[in-house]
């Protein structure tokens, strides 16, 4: 906890949180939104295809959008780390934060599993048909991104209050 307090009170974290500059907290938040648009949004589009919409889209070339998703993911990992650092002592004891991290971990694992199970699967690539397993992964992926977005937004409303140790949100 002392380590987290040290991170939270570091010069950079304090600047992000308290400087009032539009380039600090607001800009980091914007990048987080941008990343989410690209990683979750593109993943949603891929998942829709795997679930059978736009059936005439060939499977193999769709793998080329993975870099777009990784771009979004890393923008969010970086901005997310900064946001976490600015509020470390609160987030670490916030259940909804862990819910969000779980959804994201699962979503990223699913992206990799889908890559192997669908895009690198000779049968899917040749027939452009997706197995039941692939469809289940796509559905789970959609649910995980929706869950991550929901948990992320609800961080401001549930659990411990940022900057007010001992205080909890009440609904």
């Amino acid at each position: 906890m002392d380590f987290l307090r040290w991170i939270e009170q570091s010069g950079f974290s304090t600047w992000v949180r308290e400087s009032g500059s539009v380039w600090a907290y607001p800009t980091i938040l914007f990048f987080h939104t941008l990343g989410l648009g690209f990683v979750a949004g593109t993943s949603m589009a891929v998942d829709l295809r795997l679930l059978g919409f736009a059936k005439r889209m060939p499977i193999a070339p769709l793998e080329r959008v993975y870099p777009v998703m990784w771009f979004g993911f890393w923008v969010n990992a970086a901005s997310g780390f900064i946001l976490l650092a600015a509020d470390a002592t609160t987030k670490i004891i916030s259940p909804i934060f862990y819910v969000k991290m779980s959804f994201i971990t699962l979503a990223v694992v699913l992206l990799q599993l889908m890559r192997n199970g669908v895009f690198h699967n000779q049968s899917s690539v040749q027939t452009n048909l997706v197995s039941m397993k692939g469809k289940l992964m796509a559905a789970a992926s959609l649910a995980c991104w929706a869950g991550a977005i929901t948990a992320g937004r609800l961080q401001a409303y549930l659990g411990p209050v940022s900057g007010a140790p001992g205080l909890t949100n009440h609904f």
Binding site: V22, A45, P58, P61, L62, R64, W145
Partner: protein, 170 residues
Amino acid sequence: MNFIMSFIVAFSTWLKGTEMSRFVTHYAWVWPACETLHFIGLAMLVGVIGMLDLRMLGIAKGLPVAPVHKLVPWGVSGFVINVVTGSMFFAGDPFQYIHNYAFWLKMMFIAIAGLNMLAFYVTGVFRTAEALGPGEDAPMLAKVIAGSSLFLWVGVMYLGRMLPFLGNAF
């Protein structure tokens, strides 16, 4: 300009007295639920329209355009979700928006993005783009429209995220 603003203020005063406005501010769960849906809607919009735009610009060129275009209704659904939730935010407290220049800029960007999308269809470049097979390069006009689309929607996301920080802070 003052005449327009006084009309907007009058409209906002009326809106603040409606049942919808009371609904949005009365139940604690409404605002967070709307915010969550607003983010999900934006992901749908940016993910689908972004994929189409990126294809026009040459990413994932192995994709024929027509099927990617088939996903557009999902992007539009995301947009509709955001118009609905956005209207609910506005109805909840119009006065925190109408004096914020970031809000008006965001609306302007959305309007221009809409016109940009209209241009895609009205100019007919849509027909050429739809016919593009795997590996084929999009016409220059399609690329310009696609690039503008990406810029405009990123701009909308930026302005939306900045609403509490630019102009008059809430």
